[in-house]
Amino acid sequence: MEIITSISQIPKIRNRPQRTLSLPEFQRYSRQLILPEVGRPGQENLVNSSVLVVGCGGLGCPVIQYLAAAGVGAFGLVDNDVVDTSNIQRQILHMESDSGKLKVLSAAETIKNLNSSASVYLFNLTIDSSNALEIVSQFDLVVDCTDNVATRYLLNDACFLQKNGRIPLVSGAALRWDGQITVYKEDSCCYRCVHPNPPAPESVTNCSDGGVIGAVCGVVGSIQATEALKILAGIENSLCGNMIIYDGLRASTRTIRLRPKRPDCKLCGERKEIKELVDYVQFCGMSANDKDKNLDLLADNERINVTDVSSLKKQSAIIVDVRPEVQFKICSLPQTFNLPLKKIKKNPDLLSDLIKEQNASEVVFLCRKGNDSQTATVFWKDFTKESIKARDIKGGLYAWQEQIDSSFPLY
């Protein structure tokens, strides 16, 4: 297993010499082999096929696992991240002992244990407009298991702009209890037809902030794997043109009909304005990962360090923890008040009343990592026209745990 870190190392993967099934494989794949839609031709297509899975996280893991078990011949795995303890809740190919290991490597080891005949190519890099066309061109199919908008546009465009014809793209997404899955291929609409403009960055919630149920990722990934398997085996039925919407909380699934190709789509429409890959991070105004952004909205004198918090209270300042209520109930500092940022923005009087009630002359905002607390400070200064002193606690509860109290729980 070779780890590919740059474009110069990309091997020829697609269109390798075809092989027939080996004797043990008849038995191994018998349960799917006897399905009339698969049969021997379908299984031979699978063992000769190649798939690129972009993202080895919550969606990528079940996709890789099921496709490897089903006998797909070659895998390209793309991820530039390492396994973190908080991944294991949903990223089921990574074990406790994999903590700190490259995700592509951890996933590849599981594949190899599961199906030693599979070829695995590890792309430990950030897929972007400098390499995507070439990486994608080596595979029969791409499965989008990414965690960010920029890479979704990138994969859409890279699959469409192939010299030798459009490469099918199986797209899945999950957040909280919800999942969405669709397939873009042949003459169907593309991701840009459905999303001509990227969403505003502040309207996009990532799994780290919004949370996600591991099994919901499993549902989405399993549906993606099913769609991928059909395409690779050469089965015509497809989700293409439709989208499955899964709501795990209400235990409901529905399939909606998507629009046809938009004539004014910049990529696949009549004018085909986009002829090559663009800068997707710039286009989306968002980075190509779902890592927490570190905001820097405030001047130094508008912030206090966690080490100075103890000296605060004597000066009639109140600490307002702006995390959502559910997070405040997980853990909180004593003598802090919980008023979620969303509530403050919607109804600032709640905070005015609290300040009056406590007879405070200063308000200090606190959150998990020190981003929302800055946003709250800026909002409050603006709202009060700076009539009340407002600051934020730099680094939030993460800094508190690191510098003051190592027994404080982090999540």
């Binding site: 993202g55 996280g57 919550g58 969606l59 990528g60 989008d144 298991c145 990414t146 965690d147 960010n148 908008v149 979704r152 899945g172 997404a173 999950a174 957040l175 909280r176 919800d178 999942g179 969405q180 459905v194 999303h195 001509p196 403009n197 990227p198 969403p199 505003a200 309207s203 996009v204 919630t205 990532n206 799994c207 919004g210 996600v212 990722c217 989405v220 919407i245 709501d247 209400r250 529905r254 399939t255 909606i256 009909r257 998507l258 629009r259 046809p260 938009r262 779902d290 919607k346």
Partner: protein, 97 residues
């Protein structure tokens, strides 16, 4: 005419912090979707309307509108004439994984 709006894929958070449905009586006898958007907006029937609707004719990027489980682009989008018992759904599209 009675109209029911539905919220899914996380669009629920725009309506009373997570309610799935909103039912109200339309001001029009035969409303178009744009009339419904206008009414929702002027009467503040959805608390975080700005998260979903851009104008009476359009939604925010990342939001899909369904009419009876089909993309409104398959109909007339905001000019679609709403019929009795039609189900109009806002879907927030997801991007995480």
């Amino acid at each position: 005419m009675e109209v029911t709006l539905e919220f899914c894929g996380g669009a629920e958070t725009a309506h009373n912090g997570g309610e799935k449905f909103l039912t109200f009586k339309s001001d029009h006898k035969e409303p178009k979707v744009s009339d419904i958007f206008a009414q929702v907006r002027s009467k503040k029937l959805i608390d975080d309307i700005d998260a979903l609707i851009e104008s009476d004719k359009d939604v925010k990027p990342g939001v899909l509108v369904l009419i009876n489980d089909a993309d409104w682009e398959l109909f007339n989008e905001a000019d679609y004439q709403v019929c009795k018992n039609d189900r109009i759904t806002f879907v927030s599209t997801l991007h995480g994984g």
